[in-house]
Assembly symmetry: C2
Homo-oligomer: 468 residues x 2
């Protein structure tokens, strides 16, 4: 096959994919009908059914190993298809089979768990996030075999499909640590992100990390009269507000001492890659449903969300929140704070720094408690890694276009794979911003889904050569 | 009677009160059984029944005029008992006949609307706030007549008993304005406050005013992902917190420009009167159920709550407040702010200053709306007014003790009487801090209630002479 001209390989591959497209969509729709909502206990059995369905489908695809991996929460699926080439690199694909909650009355045009195709788009909860993007790997590996004439992949292919990603992956790291030997890989391909747009295919090269905490503040033992006592005792809502206000300086830089320690400055090359994207700030603001930009001085909007750490208040509350007024000093207030982290920031160090900073700012007469949730580390693909070049080449062949680079401002469990397995993480996603992740009318563009299939049809051969 | 020695007058008065005490308490208990809760529409008929009951009782007491004054809300009661002395000053007594909500299950030892006497205390909702303190005027005026041998009071006595005080007196000012001619008085006696303690009888000489607003802040059109957009768009919860934090400087002084304009400095005499009180900060903190003091630099705790203006956040909310975390930038946030005002501060000017200050602090991309509720003006009794000296003398005779001075940190409709009628407002209350206003097991000390009766028995003659 190595002497076949590339145009012939691509034609053959595309024919193969086209002829299997209908069956692939039927299978995917069957999976999408299973409401595997990990956040809702009433769907626990559905999440398991989803895992069982996937195991059966992976075996049918040809994976000699496909099994359930139980966790204290929802089950994951692991599959493995060794290469008969003893020098083949090991590649681990990551995705998840659980989905966000969805109900018709949230504003869906059709039942979120009854997939329908309209205008070349497949609408269903999980169509893009993440069942569609997991599932393109099944047809992808078959297309790879068809195109290469192989009986097994050119790489030793492993698949880990988590069942709790939409619930914050509470047992994922422990699972990866326990199964580190079986998960060992030379590269990790995460298929749970997106592209810039249908017109501008991109590879994501990093996600931010995340540290989160709740701060509870307690003043008077009960709400007290603001006339009788106001002006003479500390108000915990005021203390909470002062914490939030003090988080940033006038340049919108985070003031917590040590927060930026270890953060590598953006290189000129990185800034250039970001600046090359056809960024339309007005359009971005519409997507953000926001009416203005505000962020750290000296950085562009994309740099702020992709490459700079942040502090945000996700929720705050204290005192009377009903209609009208109530002249009280509230007895308590609460904050939910989160910190997006970038390369070089260690979540443990950040949590200590934030905790100390809060402790130092609480006046006498107010008690407080800061509770951190499990953190997620930032995850970056080295821009010069040969596996990244393989992904870019494979995408370039599938899309017939120059592939550009993005990052994700969000956070995901990919970093645990990078950490525990010591392997570079690459992102291969074909979802576009309009796909409506976590929103009503989630969909996937079927043509792009097929480009995902096609990319993996080329990727395994390329990676096998690049990582040899 | 003018030649009778004071000790004989007092003995006679006390005999009279003692002999009518049981009937007085029976009558008051009958009134307290009517659950005149103005805040609860299901008690509208009870509020009207309470007004009707009072009208009948005032006629029985001897008031030739006693009538219902309807408002768009709950009815008030007006009564009038002219003096046959053509030069007699006109005195208007203010109180209210509505009560706070109360339910046995809130923690009452007995039914809040079934008065019981335990250990010399009468327990019932409204016993102190304010039915008991209104009602002592009925026996008081009879004792005054008995002591002086008069057929009608030495002052032209008017009584205005509101029915919506516990609901914020929404129609009170309009009522006073409409009836200003009939309410015209040389002095107003407000019986709806308290004393320092049973051991330290005091006269209140002022209440703070109140301006209140709600600030709504809108950022993104819906909650948006803090990973995808965090760090690049304004967060309305952060804006809300920054407003609250910016309200005070490091000395806990309010930073709104013009806020202190017109505020008269506390005089040495006023500070001395406050410092003379047996103030125990530890005990005060227990009453405040607070664990520390914090307030404007340069002032004592009592000065802070009685004589200095404040800014407080009574409630705030925005974003996710449920269990765990949610990585969003909230679409909106809300603040409830209130400002206690002192003499010299004009609520209209304060509202403009606060509104402008807020407007100037909202970043681009955040919309906001500030809504002010009806304000209450501060109310101060001139310390050198002859009527105040009369009240102090009458109380001194009833209590056989030196009478000291307090203020109230809270706010009430008394200021409307001062404003509209142009008369000085004096406070005559015998309630003590342990009476549990607005709380379970509200009570009044029966001996102090009788001191209230006795005070008014002396007061009308004294005022008639002082204001002639």
């Amino acid at each position: 096959m190595s002497e076949t001209p590339d145009s012939a390989v691509r034609m053959h591959t595309r024919d193969y994919i086209r002829s299997h497209r209908a069956a692939f969509l039927d299978d995917l729709s069957e999976w999408l009908r299973i409401p595997s909502v990990s956040a809702q206990p009433e769907h626990d059995a559905d999440v398991r059914r989803s895992a069982d369905w996937l195991v059966a489908k992976l075996r049918e695809t040809g994976f000699p190993v496909a099994e359930i991996w139980d966790t204290p929460g929802a089950p994951a699926v692991f599959a493995e298809w060794p290469s008969d080439d003893p020098g083949a690199p090991v590649v681990l694909v990551y995705g998840h089979h659980d989905v966000q909650p969805a109900a018709r009355e949230d504003g869906w045009r059709s039942d979120p768990f009854e997939p329908v195709v309209r205008d070349g788009r497949l609408y269903a909860r999980g169509a893009a996030d993440d069942k569609g993007q997991v599932f393109f790997h099944t047809l992808g590996v078959r297309a790879h075999l068809a195109a290469t004439g192989r009986d097994n992949p050119a790489v030793h292919l492993k698949l880990l499909v988590e069942g709790e990603e939409e619930s914050g992956s509470p047992h994922f790291r422990a699972l990866v640590e326990r199964q580190a030997a079986r998960l060992a890989a030379d590269a990790v391909i995460v298929s749970d992100t997106g592209m810039w747009s249908a017109d501008t295919p991109t590879v994501c090269t990093g996600m931010r990390g995340l540290a989160e905490c709740e701060v509870e503040l307690y003043g008077p033992d009960q709400d007290i009269h603001s006339g009788s006592f106001g002006g003479a005792v500390p108000n915990p809502a005021t203390v909470a507000a002062r914490l939030v206000a003090a988080l940033h300086d006038e340049d919108e830089r985070v003031t917590v001492p040590g927060f930026y320690d270890g953060v590598a400055p953006l290189t000129d090359a990185e800034r250039t890659l970001i600046a090359e994207l056809p960024f339309d700030e007005e359009a971005w603001l519409r997507t953000a449903k926001s009416h203005g930009t505000l962020g750290e001085a000296g950085y562009s909007t994309l740099e702020r969300v992709w490459a700079r750490p942040t502090a945000e208040v996700n929720g705050m509350g204290g005192g009377y929140q009903g209609p009208g007024g109530k002249t009280i000093i509230p007895s308590s207030a609460r904050l939910k704070l989160s910190f997006r982290l970038v390369g070089g920031q260690d979540p443990d160090r950040i949590e200590r720094a934030v905790g100390d900073w809060i402790d130092a700012r609480i006046p006498a007469g107010v008690r407080h408690k800061t509770t951190f949730a499990a953190a997620t580390r930032p995850c970056l693909t080295p821009l010069d890694h040969p596996a990244l070049r393989s992904v870019v080449r494979a995408m370039g062949r599938a899309f017939d276009q120059k592939i550009r680079f993005t990052r994700e401002g969000g956070s995901g469990p990919a970093a645990d794979l990078q950490d525990v397995l010591g392997a570079p993480v690459l992102f291969l996603g074909i979802s576009v911003p309009s796909d409506g992740w976590h929103a009503p009318d989630e969909k996937v563009e079927i043509d792009l889904l097929m480009k995902g299939v096609e990319t993996t049809a080329y990727l395994w051969s390329d990676l096998a050569a690049a990582l040899r």
